[in-house]
């Protein structure tokens, strides 16, 4: 089973890297971009056949390591492959 996880900054948390990326897009002449925020993407392969158990494992992984919940939100989808 595979999990696809997105970790993104909570609204209101300063994202200077996102701002810098937007400036670089401006410099490339791509000027219809109004804002950019940068996040993280993880792919986790699980030795698990039970979808509910997989969800619990991924939830725990996000809460305890992959996301710092002081400043980040996380979301994920489980793909039964």
């Amino acid at each position: 089973m595979k999990a696809r996880i997105h970790v993104t900054l909570k609204p209101g948390v300063l994202d200077p890297q996102g701002t810098a990326i937007k400036k670089s897009l401006d410099n490339l002449g791509i000027d219809s971009v109004s804002s950019v925020t940068q996040g993280k993407y993880f792919e986790i392969t699980l030795n698990e056949n039970d979808k509910q158990k997989a969800e619990q494992t991924v939830e725990e992984s996000c809460k305890s390591l992959l996301a710092n919940t002081v400043i980040e939100n996380y979301s994920f989808e489980i793909i039964e492959a």
């Binding site: 948390v13 300063l14 200077p16 890297q17 810098a20 305890s64 390591l65 992959l66 710092n68 002081v70 400043i71």
Partner: protein, 217 residues
């Protein structure tokens, strides 16, 4: 307090400087590897040094915070033991939940390396009571020193007198110019500046010395 310990994680690079500072002041200083699961019984004070533990992978300090030795450090702190986290050490303490908030990328995105003036905001803690002046000069060297916490946490920090040091000229965008904070019980201190680099007149000045010396009492 007579015995200190400094922990080394893979990628720590200020552990030797920290050892040199502690060795100058404490009777005995251990160097502990992060995989150890026991802190010697005679340790009174633990220092978590600066550097790039785990290459700052995922988030600075996030992996080190889950190292085997950190569960022992948490117990040690819960029992009233004194813990200092400097720079990456401060990041590790926030990731481990021993201090609130988080350290973000510096606001201007640059790595900053310079001498800076700090205001001692709490002069009564075990770490800061040895200072007889309001402002000190300590070197900083960091890319991710921008302290952030939500409004409720900030209010709590101020109410409980947990802000230990503030920058006079904020170099990294830290909220309320915070350079270092204490936990509620005041036995855990995290700070971005490097006091262990200010213990010698020839290099960095002497303003770091009182912090370590006051731990002896």
């Amino acid at each position: 307090m007579k015995t200190a310990a400094v922990i080394t994680f893979p990628g720590s690079n200020c552990d030797r400087d920290m050892f040199v500072a502690l060795d100058k002041i404490f009777n005995k200083t251990y160097r502990l590897w992060h995989k150890g699961t026991k802190i010697p019984d005679d340790v009174d004070f633990i220092a978590i040094p600066g550097g790039f533990s785990y290459g700052d992978y995922l988030r600075s300090g996030s992996m080190a915070a889950n190292s085997p030795i950190m569960s022992e450090v948490k117990k040690f702190a819960a029992n009233g033991g004194y813990v200092l986290g400097v720079c990456n050490g401060f990041q590790i303490l926030t990731e481990a939940g021993l201090l609130p908030g988080v350290l973000l990328r510096n606001k201007e995105l640059k790595f900053i390396s310079k001498q800076i003036t700090l205001e001692i905001a709490n002069n009564n803690s075990q770490f800061t009571k040895g200072y007889n002046k309001k402002h000190i000069e300590i070197p900083i060297a960091h890319h991710d020193g921008n302290y952030f916490c939500d409004d409720a946490t900030l209010e709590s920090l101020e109410e409980n007198n947990q802000i230990a040091f503030k920058y006079l000229a904020n170099p990294n965008g830290s909220c309320k110019d915070i350079a270092g904070i204490l936990n509620k019980k005041k036995n855990v201190l995290g700070m971005m500046p490097h006091p262990e680099r200010a213990i010698d007149e020839l290099v960095g000045g002497l303003d770091g010395l009182p912090l370590f010396q006051s731990l002896l009492k």
